[in-house]
């Protein structure tokens, strides 16, 4: 039983991903150059707001170091939050197409997740080049580990994306809820602050957030420090569970999408 869509998942995902990226840059004067301009401007904003206005301090880091610290937390967050938020409405936004063309439904969600990862992943590489220019010393030896940590992040985004997209088909309030949940998650993840600054009794709760290990791990890999092994364990375990859980729910509900879209 089930659909045997004429086209396989991979090429269709690539097609929607290319469409998504093209739509972002089409009509822009600077076009794809925004991949570099964007991160540059973002870094300038961080420098102004957090270093000069808030006077943010991170133990053991100077002014420019704080910007590096923030940047390494923000870019994975940009990718993750945008991916989950946009994946939520992936099926709903393509209801018309799904009613007429047989295609693997997961491709729509995957493309919505991958697009922010491509963009902010590229942005991340740009800041890895920019930060040393600004005087932030990054450890080149930590680079492979830092990039490796994007994998559980992607798995989490795909898993949560599939989950949210599925629920959104049935419960249209999901988009709203996801927006607020993401905002909450932002503050419950050590992005603006260091994990070590949280009172010791709260740290286990913070470490239960799968994003904590990833963000903190990225910083440890590139800026140095102590590996948060427990939190990293949570991240990888959660990545696998969420990916499989999301896929399971998505597959289970796929035959019902046509009835509720």
């Amino acid at each position: 039983m089930g659909p045997a869509p004429t086209a396989p998942l991979g090429p269709i995902t690539r097609r929607f991903l290319a469409e998504d990226l093209r739509a972002r840059f089409q009509g822009n004067l600077a076009g794809a150059a925004w991949t570099i301009i964007g991160p540059l401007l973002q870094l300038a904003v961080f420098f102004l707001v957090f270093v000069h206005i808030f006077g943010q301090r991170v133990p053991g880091l100077s002014g420019a170091g704080v910007v590096g610290f923030l940047a390494l937390g923000f870019w994975p967050w940009f990718a993750f939050s945008e991916a989950v938020a946009r994946a939520t409405t992936a099926l709903q936004d393509h209801a018309g197409l799904l009613a007429k063309v047989a295609l693997p439904r997961a491709a729509l969600v995957l493309a919505r997740v991958l697009a922010p990862f491509v963009l902010h992943g590229a942005g991340f590489l740009v800041i890895l080049v920019l930060l040393p220019v600004l005087g932030v010393g990054l450890d080149p030896a930590g680079l492979p580990l830092a990039l490796l940590l994007w994998l559980p992040l992607l798995a989490l985004a795909i898993g949560f994306g599939l989950l949210a997209a599925t629920v959104q088909v049935f419960v249209r309030d999901t988009g709203q809820v996801i927006g607020h949940l993401l905002q909450l998650t932002f503050f419950l993840t050590p992005i603006l602050y260091a994990r070590e600054l949280v009172p010791a009794w709260l740290q286990p709760a913070l470490d239960a957030n799968p994003l904590t290990g990833i963000v903190t791990g990225l910083r440890v890999a590139l800026l140095g420090g102590e590996w948060p092994l427990g939190a990293l364990g949570v991240s990888f375990t959660a990545a696998v569970l969420v990916l499989f859980g999301g896929s399971w729910l998505f597959r289970r509900c796929t035959p019902l999408f046509e009835d509720y879209l």
Partner: protein
């Protein structure tokens, strides 16, 4: 088509049912039931449909509006999931389901060709090879570089059909698209489909035009209220279907013969066709048609009787009256008389016809009453027109 050609599509006990429209709470309930693996209350739109298509076959799906034809097509090409039963596909399926399916109205035709080619599974290399062919087939000139939202519906179909034609699927599934294009594009599509069928292609066509179905398909499946009403040879099924339509419209006309009428007008009070009082008649080609009518006359005078045969589309075939031919009716009682007419070996070609019966005044000038009956001539014929003219071929 050979009997042992490989089966391309096999449908078994297919059922599709949609859930009742629900409020947000019911939708949330549906999600929970889906997670728990429990069924959801549904209304069936398609029940127990089974058939198979072998490579090289052509099947037309016919039926009145709302019979489930589009739902069936969508199930076949994987847009919809069956509620029960199975659809097994054994090759690539090219579907042209609705106007502009998969087209982005904001993008140009040229861009949309690439987009929808990707959706139907054409690789970049295949697309490059067939791009010119697609453009030539669509033949929409300068509109190729205009956004699709500026297209007429005919142009959208041209583009859609051109992409599917380039795909050359094992099974081509189309829904009513032939009805949209203009005459010349319809001919082009039919030529292409005929070539495709000759080249071993397999076709599944939904159409309301029996002409298209009979021209392109060898088999037909008649869906009625979500069930298979008939499935078999295209001529048998389409003729039964047309006859059903005739009966239906005869019913809708109501009981137009008032047997115990006793007013002040000349009326038809009884009609028997080949001895039957049914609303419509099914005849084999060349069969005889006996018409017996009873007319009511309020004043004892003798009203005349006229008859006319029309094709289903209203084109007159033949008609005459007893006044023209100087025929007298037989008086049954004071106020009724009877006419009997025999049309021997009807030379009508297979198709759907209407028999009109009229009561006129004794002068044959004024029409007082009209009764219509459907006449369907069964059989397969490749001759053209409505009537077989007597002819013979001479020694060349």
């Amino acid at each position: 088509m050979s009997v042992d050609a490989p089966i391309l599509l096999e449908v078994q006990d297919l059922q599709k049912a949609y859930p009742r429209a629900g409020d947000p709470r019911a939708r949330f309930g549906a999600l929970l039931r889906a997670i728990a693996g429990r069924p959801i209350a549904r209304l069936p739109v398609l029940t127990d449909v089974s058939f198979r298509i072998r490579r090289g076959e052509s099947l037309g799906i016919i039926g009145p509006n709302g019979a489930g034809k589009s739902t069936l097509l969508k199930l076949l090409c994987g847009v919809l999931h069956p509620t029960r039963g199975t659809v097994r596909r054994n090759g690539s399926v090219g579907a042209l389901l609705e106007l502009g399916a998969g087209f982005d109205p904001e993008r140009t035709g040229r861009e949309n060709i690439a987009l929808s080619a990707g959706l139907v599974g054409l690789s970049g290399e295949e697309l490059r090879r067939s791009f010119d062919e697609i453009i030539a087939f669509a033949d929409i000139g300068r509109y190729l570089d205009e956004p699709v939202k500026h297209y007429s519906s005919g142009m959208v179909v041209r583009l859609g059909f051109a992409v599917i034609a380039a795909m050359r699927p094992d099974l081509l599934v189309t829904d009513e698209v032939l009805a949209v294009g203009d005459e010349s594009f319809q001919k082009k599509c039919i030529r292409w489909i005929e070539g495709y069928l000759e080249g071993g292609g397999t076709l599944l066509l939904v159409a309301h035009s029996m002409y298209h179905v009979q021209k392109l398909c060898r088999h037909a499946l008649w869906l009625h209220e979500g069930r298979v009403q008939a499935y078999g040879d295209v001529f048998d099924v389409t003729q039964d279907y047309l006859a059903w339509h005739e009966r239906k419209s005869a019913r809708e006309l109501g009981s137009d013969v008032e047997a115990d009428y006793s007013g002040s007008e000349y009326r038809i009070t009884g009609v028997r066709l080949n001895g039957s009082e049914d609303g419509s008649l099914l005849l084999a080609a060349g069969e005889a048609l006996a018409v017996e009518v009873t007319l009511y006359s309020p004043d004892g005078a003798s009203p005349h009787f006229g008859f006319g045969l029309l094709r289903a589309d209203g084109t007159p075939v033949y008609g005459s009256t007893t006044e023209i031919e100087g025929v007298e009716g037989r008086r049954i009682d004071d106020s009724h008389l009877r006419y009997r007419l025999l049309l021997e070996a009807l030379p009508l070609l297979p198709g759907s016809y209407t028999l009109k019966l009229h009561a006129t005044d004794p002068e044959g000038l004024r029409l007082f009453d009209t009764v219509e009956r459907g006449v369907t001539i069964r059989g397969a014929s490749r001759e053209f027109g409505m009537v077989r003219l007597a002819h013979r071929w001479m020694d060349p």
